[in-house]
Subunit: 206 residues, 2 copies
């Protein structure tokens, strides 16, 4: 039987997919860990360095990129966002599964660099439900809602690049979290992740 | 969201893998079904037609093969063993997952014919544990035990053709059954099994 490293789990989902709730449930389990991202954007009131983000200036962020210290990064609205590599790899080596909550562009980059990463697209059950959720919040302007829905077209167009699609129905965030848990458990049993099964078996390497 | 057909699940495992216990646990769940095999071997005392096997004579079995009525079949020790296709397909159409407990040769045939089938090799944690289990039964001759262990070499050599490997540790048959359950749940979420995700999403096909 193989020794187990953690799984690198990429989760993307449009606004209204309920990602926050689903990931919070997974992260309550010590088998799952989250990695704090780095960014060049200014801290918002209440945000703490090393908790919400590592806040870096542009020169420091670019030095990290040049040094290959970012597992993935992207530029968005004039600011960099990225995942510090050393911290992420330490989590994986400890056997915990690392969740990266990233956009579709970053997800493709991670898959290219780490072919063993597993990517999950979390979706509301339909576009109509997504729209109802965004409007139901009652906290965003019509303009912002329209921008989010337009962005969804681009995101869902990329779903074919993902390994799995999980639907998060109203009131069923727990089921969606259980789907992701099952994906992690199944992936560990994939032949592709279990090298030399026959050799180890007859060598009695339990 | 997609409508769901049952999954065709092929499970193989050497003597001492604890397949019987693990599959019995899965089959206690109505989401899983078993298909009664057909055979040309004579019924043993207590075996009933349509319960343990469908007992057919050689001409009848060969007519079924010629008619493409067998989902898979194999010849072993001079007798045919096979899975009647109509019954199997009816189970899948009803949305239940169909478990085929078959040998490595049959498993390869099923995967060729049904690329959507998922194959699982169930193994004891090591060859030493397997040997201890077989000897611990105390019901078989030394010759028979040696034959089973020799056969295991051939079986485990084929493990690379399987999609998943599940280890059944002593006292952990429940965990092995849960692994298989997770595999089925994860497979349903694989992009490869979810056609036209984007189209259906925007068409609001829940």
């Amino acid at each position: 039987m193989p020794t187990e490293n953690g799984l690198l789990l990429v989760v993307s989902g449009p606004a209204g997919s309920g990602k926050g709730t689903v990931l919070a449930e997974l992260l309550a389990d010590p088998a799952f860990a989250y990695s704090v991202s780095a960014t060049t954007r200014a801290p918002r009131p209440g945000e703490a360095d090393g908790v919400n983000y590592y806040f870096l200036d542009r020169a420091a962020f670019e030095a990290r990129i040049a040094n290959d210290d970012m597992l993935e990064y992207t530029e968005y609205c004039g600011n960099y966002y990225g995942t510090p590599r050393a911290e992420a790899e330490a989590v994986l080596a400890s056997g915990r599964n690392l969740i990266l909550e990233i956009e579709v562009e970053g997800a493709a980059n991670v898959k290219r660099r780490y072919p063993g990463a597993v990517s999950v697209m979390l979706l509301p059950p339909s576009f109509a439900v997504q729209e109802a959720r965004l409007r139901g919040r009652g906290t965003e302007t019509e303009e912002k809602i329209r921008a989010r829905l337009a962005r969804t077209r681009e995101e869902v167009a990329k779903v074919e690049d993902y390994d799995y699609v999980v639907y998060n129905r109203d009131g069923c965030a727990h089921a969606a979290a259980e789907d992701i848990r099952a994906i992690v458990r199944a992936e560990r049993a994939r032949l592709a992740r279990n090298a030399d099964v026959a050799t180890r078996y007859f060598a009695n390497e339990e």
